[in-house]
C-alpha cells in the first residue's frame, strides 16, 4: 500500500510537471495552430540559461530566475521575428517543418555548448516547503511546481477569456486570413504568443532541471512527451493539458512501478495511438465539424 501511495504521489507530481510543460505548447497551438516541435528545446534553453546564470555568473537566485524568464521571453520573440514572420500566410506545413528544423538546430547548439552530460543545480528550495504526511512525502520542488502551475493556469484562463489580446489570439488560430482582414495585428499576436510560450517553457525547464538535473537529451525528450499529454487533454485546452499531464504521469509511474521500467517511456505513446483512434479530439478539445 505504501508503494502504491508513493507511486500515486510521484505520478501526480510528474504529471503536473508534464502539464506545466504542455501549457506553453498549447499556448502556441491555440494562437496559431502550429504544432511546435521545438518545445523541448525551449525547455532545455530555459534550464541551461538558469544554470549558466547561477553557476557561471553567480547571480542571486531571484535575479537569475527573473533574468531567465526575460531571456526566454526574448528568445520566443526573436524566434517569431527571425524565423516565423517570413512565413505568415504560407501553408501551415512549412511552419511545422520549420519548428522541426529549429528543434534540430537548437538541440545541436545546446549540445555543442553543454555537452550531453548531466548538470545539476545547487539545492536552494527551503526544506520547509515540502509536505510530509506520514507515509506521503512530497519534495519541495513539486510543491513549487504545483503553485507555479496553478498560478499560470488561472492566469491563462483569464487571459484567453477576457483580455483583448487573448481574444485576438483565438481569432488568429481560428482563421488567420479572416483575422487579418478584420484588423487583428497578426504579427503582434504571433510574437506575443511565442514569447509567452517560451517564457512558460523556460520556467517549466527550470523546475524540471531542479528535479532531474539539466540534460539536453532528457529535456528535449520531454518536449516530445508533450504530444500524448496534449492529445489526451485536447489540443487547444489549457486545463486539458494539466489533466492530460496528470493522467500520463500516473500511467507512466504505475507502469514503471508494477509492469516494467522499460515500458515506462513507451506507454504515453501507446496511449496516444489509442486516444487518436477512440477519442481523437481528446477530453476537452474543440471538435471540428465539417460537412461537404
Amino acid at each position: 500500500m505504501d508503494f502504491f501511495i508513493q507511486l500515486l504521489v510521484n505520478g501526480i507530481s510528474i504529471g503536473f510537471l508534464y502539464g506545466l510543460s504542455a501549457m506553453g505548447f498549447v499556448m502556441i497551438f491555440k494562437s496559431s495552430s502550429v504544432l511546435n516541435f521545438a518545445h523541448g528545446e525551449l525547455l532545455a534553453f530555459g534550464a541551461s540559461l538558469f544554470l549558466a546564470l547561477i553557476t557561471w555568473a553567480q547571480l542571486p537566485l531571484p535575479a537569475a530566475f527573473l533574468a531567465t524568464l526575460a531571456g526566454c521571453f526574448a528568445l520566443g520573440f526573436l524566434i517569431e521575428r527571425v524565423f516565423l514572420r517570413p512565413l505568415i500566410g504560407e501553408p501551415l506545413i512549412f511552419v511545422i517543418m520549420l519548428t522541426v528544423g529549429l528543434a534540430a538546430m537548437f538541440k545541436g547548439l545546446l549540445l555543442l555548448v553543454w555537452g550531453g552530460n548531466l548538470h545539476t543545480f545547487p539545492d536552494f528550495l527551503p526544506e520547509a516547503m515540502g509536505i510530509d504526511w506520514g507515509i506521503v512525502h512530497v519534495a519541495p520542488v513539486y510543491v513549487a511546481a504545483l503553485v507555479i502551475g496553478l498560478i499560470f493556469l488561472s492566469l491563462f484562463g483569464l487571459f484567453f477569456k477576457y483580455s483583448s489580446q487573448g481574444i485576438y489570439m483565438r481569432s488568429v488560430a481560428d482563421n488567420q486570413r479572416a483575422a487579418l482582414s478584420l484588423g487583428v495585428h497578426v504579427k503582434r499576436v504571433f510574437a506575443l504568443s511565442w514569447a509567452i510560450a517560451a517564457l512558460v517553457a523556460g520556467m517549466s525547464g527550470i523546475v524540471l532541471g531542479i528535479i532531474n538535473g539539466v540534460n539536453v537529451h532528457d529535456l528535449s525528450a520531454i518536449g516530445l512527451k508533450v504530444f500524448p499529454v496534449v492529445i489526451l487533454g485536447g489540443l487547444d485546452s489549457i486545463g486539458g493539458a494539466i489533466i492530460g499531464g496528470l493522467i500520463i504521469g500516473l500511467l507512466e509511474t504505475f507502469t514503471g512501478g508494477y509492469i516494467s521500467p522499460g515500458l515506462r517511456d513507451v506507454v504515453p505513446y501507446l496511449v496516444l495511438v489509442v486516444i487518436l483512434l477512440v477519442k481523437p479530439y481528446g477530453l476537452f478539445g474543440l471538435k471540428e465539424i465539417e460537412r461537404v
Partner: protein, 358 residues
C-alpha cells in the same frame, strides 16, 4: 531521324491538350540526356571512382529511395511523417528476419519487407483516417517510439541489442559482394522506384493526392474519398521506406536498432525540404545534398582535429550534424521553400535560350 522532326522548346506556352501538360519530357533532348546519364551512371561511374566514393553513392541511392517515398507523402499529399526513420528500420529488420529465418533470397525478401513495412505504416496511419489536419504527424511520432521499443525488446525475433547479421545476397549462384555490385543493384532499384513515383503522380491517384494537399475540402467535394487516399499515400510512402531499409540491411550486412531513431526521420524530412517538396527529382538532389553535407562535416571535423584547433575529444560530430541539418531546413524554408529542384529549374531555364535570351 531527321533533325527537323525533333521537338525543340517552344518560345511560349502552346499546349493544347492536358496530356501535353503531363508530359515528363518536354522535348526528345530530355529523353536523350536521361539515356546518356543512365549509361554514364552504370558504364563510367562505378569504374572510375574509389570504393569509398562508391560507398557514398550507394548511401545516397538508398536515402533517395526513402526520400522519394516520403516526398509522395509530404510533398504531394501534404501530410508529415515523423516516423520514417523507424519504418526504414522495420524494412531493414523485416528483410533480415526473412533472410535469416526463412532463407528468402534477396529478390523476394526486399519486396516482401517493403510490403510488411507498408502494412506496419498503415497501422499507424489509421488514426489519421478519422481526422483532418496534422494528426498523422503526431501518430507517426508515436509510431517512431513504439517501433523503436519493439525492435529493441522483441528479442526472440530481432535479437535486441545484439543486432542481426544478413547472408550475402545471391542470385543464380552468383554472390553480390563489394560496393560495386551493390552500386548496380541500388541504382537499378532507384531508377525503378523513381520511374514508378513519377508515373504514379500522373495517374488518378497522384491527382487525388495533389488535390488533397491543395484543398482537402474541395477534394472531398469533388468526390475524392480523402481518408482512403491519405491512407494509400501513407502506405506507398512506407513501402518506399521499407524498400530502402531492406536494401540498407543487405548493404551493411549487420544491423542494430541504433540508426533508426527520430533524428533519422528528421534527416529524411530535411532531404525532402531541401530537395523540394512535391518534386520527385528534387528528392534525389536532397539526398545528395544532405549526404554530401555529412561528408563535408566529417572531413572538416577531422581537418580541425588534425590541425589541433580542437582536441580529439573536444568536438563531437553528432551535435554539429544536428545543428547543420536544422539550419539547412530553416534556411531552405525561409529562402527557397521549393528547394533545390526550383534552383535547378531556374538555372536550366536561364541557360535554355542562351545566348539569345528574351
Amino acid at each position: 531521324m531527321k533533325i527537323k522532326n525533333w521537338q525543340f522548346h517552344p518560345c511560349g506556352n502552346f499546349r493544347e491538350r492536358y496530356a501535353q501538360e503531363l508530359r515528363i519530357f518536354e522535348t526528345d533532348f530530355g529523353r536523350l540526356w536521361l539515356g546518356i546519364g543512365i549509361l554514364a551512371l552504370f558504364g563510367i561511374v562505378p569504374w572510375i571512382f574509389s570504393p569509398y566514393m562508391i560507398y557514398i553513392f550507394n548511401t545516397i541511392g538508398i536515402a533517395a529511395i526513402a526520400v522519394i517515398g516520403l516526398n509522395i507523402l509530404i510533398g504531394f499529399t501534404g501530410q508529415i511523417s515523423l516516423g520514417h526513420g523507424a519504418f526504414f528500420g522495420v524494412g531493414a529488420y523485416a528483410a533480415a528476419i526473412l533472410a535469416t529465418t526463412l532463407n528468402c533470397p534477396f529478390y523476394l525478401s526486399i519486396p516482401a519487407a517493403a510490403v510488411i513495412t507498408a502494412m506496419v505504416g498503415m497501422v499507424f496511419g489509421t488514426p489519421s483516417v478519422r481526422l483532418k489536419g496534422l494528426y498523422l504527424t503526431i501518430a507517426t511520432l508515436a509510431g517512431q517510439f513504439i517501433i523503436e521499443y519493439i525492435l529493441l525488446r522483441w528479442e526472440s525475433l530481432t535479437k535486441g541489442t545484439m543486432g542481426m547479421i544478413l547472408p550475402k545476397p545471391a542470385i543464380l549462384g552468383w554472390e553480390l559482394t563489394g560496393d560495386r555490385a551493390f552500386f548496380f543493384m541500388i541504382f537499378a532499384c532507384l531508377i525503378m522506384m523513381t520511374w514508378f513515383a513519377v508515373n504514379l503522380i500522373r495517374t488518378k491517384f497522384g491527382r487525388a493526392f495533389i488535390a488533397i494537399r491543395d484543398n482537402d475540402r474541395a477534394a472531398e467535394g469533388m468526390g475524392i474519398p480523402i481518408f482512403r487516399y491519405k491512407l494509400l499515400a501513407f502506405g506507398i510512402s512506407s513501402f518506399y521506406a521499407g524498400f530502402a531499409g531492406a536494401l540498407y540491411a543487405y548493404y551493411s550486412v549487420s544491423i542494430t536498432t541504433e540508426p533508426f531513431t527520430l533524428s533519422l526521420s528528421v534527416e529524411y524530412i530535411a532531404m525532402v525540404i531541401i530537395g523540394g517538396m512535391g518534386n520527385i527529382t528534387g528528392s534525389i538532389f536532397g539526398a545528395i545534398f544532405i549526404t554530401g553535407l555529412n561528408e563535408i562535416l566529417r572531413w572538416l571535423t577531422e581537418l580541425l582535429m588534425n590541425m589541433g584547433v580542437v582536441g580529439s575529444s573536444g568536438l563531437n560530430m553528432a551535435p554539429l550534424r544536428e545543428f547543420t541539418f536544422g539550419l539547412a531546413i530553416v534556411l531552405f524554408i525561409i529562402f527557397e521553400p521549393r528547394g533545390l529542384a526550383e534552383v535547378w529549374r531556374i538555372v536550366r531555364s536561364s541557360f535554355r535560350l542562351w545566348p539569345f535570351s528574351y
